[in-house]
Structures are given as structure tokens and as C-alpha cells.
């Protein structure tokens, strides 16, 4: 889980070109340089890194860095857990 947190935070920083610390409760719209393109970039990078697929209904409620982390965690768990006993 810490890996996901670090990964999401690094991607957000890279996408916005900022060194500003971001935390789970950081509101995405409050990050300098953040825009809808940044979101698309971060989500695409996360899809690639974690082999997950992010759909429309999952994009709608992303407001904080923590929301991004939870989304990746949930989708990764689902991808790992399908059919496992």
C-alpha cells in the first residue's frame, strides 16, 4: 500500500512538474499546474504501471490524492483477487 501511495504521489508531482509535497488529503485542484490533462496523464500512467483499467464512473469522484490511491488499490485488489480462493 505504501508503494501505491508513493507511486501516485510521484506521478502527480511529475505530471505537474512540481516538487511540492502532496499528501492523501491534498485536493487535486489545489495543486499548482493541475488540470484535466494532468489527471488524464496520471490515470494513464497508473493504468500502465498497475495493469488496471480505469473507466468513466471511476473518474467522476476523484478529488484528492487519496482518492487516486484508493482507486488504484481497489482496482489492483480486484485484478489480483478475481477467482482466487
Amino acid at each position: 500500500m505504501i508503494d501505491i501511495q508513493r507511486s501516485v504521489q510521484a506521478l502527480v508531482q511529475a505530471e505537474t512538474g512540481t516538487d511540492t509535497n502532496v499528501a492523501p488529503n491534498t485536493v487535486l485542484d489545489d495543486i499548482s499546474g493541475w488540470d484535466s490533462v494532468s489527471l488524464a496523464g496520471v490515470l494513464m500512467a497508473l493504468e500502465e504501471e498497475y495493469s488496471i483499467r480505469i473507466g468513466r464512473h471511476q473518474v467522476v469522484n476523484l478529488h484528492t490524492v487519496g482518492d487516486l490511491e484508493r482507486l488504484v488499490r481497489d482496482l489492483s485488489l480486484l485484478a489480483d483477487g478475481r477467482g482466487k480462493t
Binding site: 484535466s36 490533462v37 496523464g41 473507466g55 468513466r56 481497489d74 485488489l77 480486484l78 483477487g81 482466487k84
Partner: protein
């Protein structure tokens, strides 16, 4: 009568457990054609929907194989009365994509649910072909029972449910002024109805094809903005980045990723039928073009089109009406010039969206009722 594979009754639903859940429906009598209707919803973890396959077998015969991604009514025809008199009917619901939370959360401080959880059943009831309720199942199964003609309420549409199809940024900027920022491919793009139709035909498969893309700077130096163009779809899109803010390489990389992702979301939207697609054109589109656009949208799913056109004196600005099976028309007093889409748009936009959203919800609710009726009639034949 519940067989194997069911959880205990919870707050308005029961879980289907393990690989299959069995319903034994005794003595259906000699009533006319009967249908079993199940209202089923998927497992949701946090805010993440877990899509699951469902196969329904009635006395061993398969009747439906949906993938459950949202609350769904599954309609299952019961065997003819000559077969079922005096005999029970066995309905097997196969759901192989269950989840076990103990596997997902092995380190949880509180022991999670160890059951193999699949789908939720909220209601199960029998109806005859007139829509009257049967009398056996729900009480015995201790599952909530309601009038089958009462449909899921739709939430009022929000401005984020509207998806711009162009032809320019006017509607996308109106959404921004209202504080709504949906991730939509065409919000800040310019394309014609002709090339929109081309893209809907081929799924915008060449949208991110580097051979079809060019990047340019537009505006007055030193604040020129990077613009992305696709020559197949005659599409251009604002990057929102001006020349001294980022290198060309970074802008190109970002733009391609953006287009790829937004195309992916567009395809999701087209398949889901959950967005209201808005098309405006300063130079009016012909009725044939709007018909073609509606048809192209319908190829993908149950998509509605809101066509915005200039009021011509016979109707007031802000008026919205249904003008086709899947088309609404909204009337506006004026469009912004293509070169001035940044200035505040017509005051009629909020009224149009409010009325269109309400009409859309109403149409979808009514149509769902009709669709269910048609499905019942089709099954009866």
C-alpha cells in the same frame, strides 16, 4: 424456496454466494405465461464496481448471460404451464466471478467476510404477461417484493452528465463556468459533424495515430498555445499549454496521452448510454445530418442526443423538446463566434440544460418501462 448458495437476508437484499445460487419455485399452477424478474446489483468495493458474469438456467436450459455492472433487471421466462403444473421449477444462477474478502484483505485487523460473495439480489418476483404479480416467490424467499412496474428512480441529471460533441468549446466552457469539469474528448475541441460521423463510424481509431497528428502554435507571441490537429477527423484540440510553459516534446507526449485516455472514456460513454451527448453548430446542421448523428450514437448504445439550434421565432430561447426517438432539440438565442468562445455564452444555456436533463430522465424512465414491456411481449411470443 431458496436452495443453496444464498446469504442471510440483509438490508433489502441477499448475497448470492459461491459459484451458484439455486431457487426452487414450487407449483406455479395454470396461470398464463410467467416470468421471473430479478433485480440484481453488483458487488462494489469502496467506489469500485466489480463486474460479474451471470448465467441463468431454468430446469437446465440457459436463458440469459448478462455481465452485471450496474443494477439490472434480469427477466427469465418460466416453463409453459403444461410442463410446470404440479412440478417445481429449478432456477440456477451461476456467478463464477465471486470475491472472497479474506483473500483481498489478509492483513485486516478485523476479520473480513470469509464468504465467497457474488451479486446482490434485491427483489425477485413472478409476473404474468399482463404485468400482474405472481404470488409465490418473494414471500417464500423472504426477498423484498414491490410492484414490478415501479422502475429504478433515476437521479436528476447533472451538468456533468452532459457530454459535448462539439462543434467547438462553447458548451465545454459553459460547464467550466458552472464548476463542472467532465473529462470529455470534445469539450475543448473543434470538429465538424461530417468528421464526427466518420469518427463514430470507426471508433476514432486513428485519433492518436502519429501519422495523422500535427502540433502547432496558435495565437499571438509570446503566449501562443499548442494546438493538436488530426487530419483524418479534421479535429483540433486546445492543449491549454502556451509555448514558454513546456517543451514541445513534453506537450506532444501529454497531448497523445490525453487523446488516448479521453478516447477510451468516450468509448465507455458511448457503450454505457449514461451521458447526454450535446451537439451544437453555429452553421445549422441539416435534419438528415442530425438523424445520421443520432443513428451513429445509437450504434454504440442507448445514447440520446441533445441538438442545440438557434430559436427561429416560433419557439423561445431555452425551449427544449423531444424531436426524435433518441433526439431532443434545445433552442438558443445566439451562439458565440468561433473566435470568441471564451466570453460568457448565452444566458439560455442553463435553462436548456435544466429542461433537457429533466426531459432526458423522464424519457429514459418511460422508455425503460416500455422496453421492459416489449421484452416481456417478445418473450411471450
Amino acid at each position: 424456496m431458496l436452495g443453496t448458495g444464498w446469504g442471510a437476508s440483509e438490508d433489502g437484499f441477499r448475497w448470492m454466494l459461491d459459484d451458484e445460487s439455486v431457487l426452487e419455485i414450487p407449483g406455479l399452477g395454470e396461470a398464463s405465461t410467467l416470468y421471473l424478474i430479478l433485480r440484481i446489483s453488483p458487488l462494489i468495493l469502496g467506489e469500485t464496481v466489480w463486474p460479474q458474469r451471470l448465467a441463468v438456467l431454468v430446469d437446465g436450459f440457459p436463458h440469459s448471460l448478462p455481465v452485471i455492472t450496474e443494477t439490472t433487471f434480469v427477466i427469465v421466462p418460466m416453463p409453459g404451464h403444461e410442463k410446470r403444473v404440479g412440478e417445481s421449477v429449478k432456477v440456477v444462477l451461476k456467478h463464477p466471478d465471486w470475491l472472497q474478502l479474506t483473500t483481498l484483505f489478509p492483513d485486516s485487523p478485523t476479520p473480513p467476510d470469509s464468504r465467497k460473495i457474488s451479486l446482490r439480489v434485491h427483489e425477485a418476483y413472478l409476473v404474468d404477461q399482463t404485468g400482474s404479480m405472481g404470488n409465490a416467490l418473494s414471500d417464500q424467499a423472504n426477498i423484498a417484493r414491490t410492484d414490478p412496474r415501479v422502475l429504478e428512480p433515476f437521479c436528476p441529471a447533472s451538468l456533468a452528465d452532459f457530454a459535448s460533441l462539439g462543434d467547438n468549446c462553447e458548451f465545454g466552457l459553459f460547464q467550466r463556468r458552472c464548476g463542472v469539469e467532465p473529462q470529455d474528448l470534445f469539450r475543448f475541441s473543434r470538429l465538424s459533424i461530417e468528421t464526427l460521423l466518420t469518427g463514430l463510424e470507426d471508433g476514432f481509431v486513428d485519433l492518436c495515430n502519429l501519422a495523422r497528428l500535427t502540433f502547432s502554435l496558435r495565437g499571438d507571441a509570446p503566449r501562443r498555445e499548442y494546438i493538436t490537429k488530426n487530419d483524418k477527423y479534421k479535429f483540433f484540440s486546445h492543449s491549454g499549454v502556451v509555448e514558454d510553459e513546456a517543451s514541445v516534446v513534453r506537450v506532444i507526449e501529454r497531448e497523445i496521452r490525453k487523446l488516448y485516455f479521453l478516447r477510451q472514456l468516450l468509448i465507455d460513454d458511448l457503450k454505457s448510454g449514461d451521458r447526454l451527448f450535446v451537439f451544437k453548430a453555429n452553421h445549422s446542421a441539416s435534419a438528415e445530418q442530425i438523424d445520421d448523428l443520432s443513428w451513429s450514437l445509437r450504434r454504440w448504445g442507448d445514447n440520446f442526443l441533445l441538438h442545440i439550434r438557434l430559436a427561429d421565432g416560433s419557439v423561445e430561447a431555452g425551449h427544449v423538446e423531444r424531436t426524435g426517438r433518441f433526439v431532443m432539440t434545445g433552442y438558443i438565442d445566439s451562439f458565440l463566434d468561433y473566435s470568441k468562445a471564451q466570453i460568457p455564452a448565452s444566458e439560455a444555456w442553463p435553462t436548456i440544460c435544466d429542461r433537457a436533463g429533466k426531459l432526458w430522465c423522464q424519457i429514459r424512465a418511460n422508455d425503460l418501462g416500455q422496453v421492459e414491456q416489449v421484452a416481456l411481449e417478445a418473450l411471450a411470443e
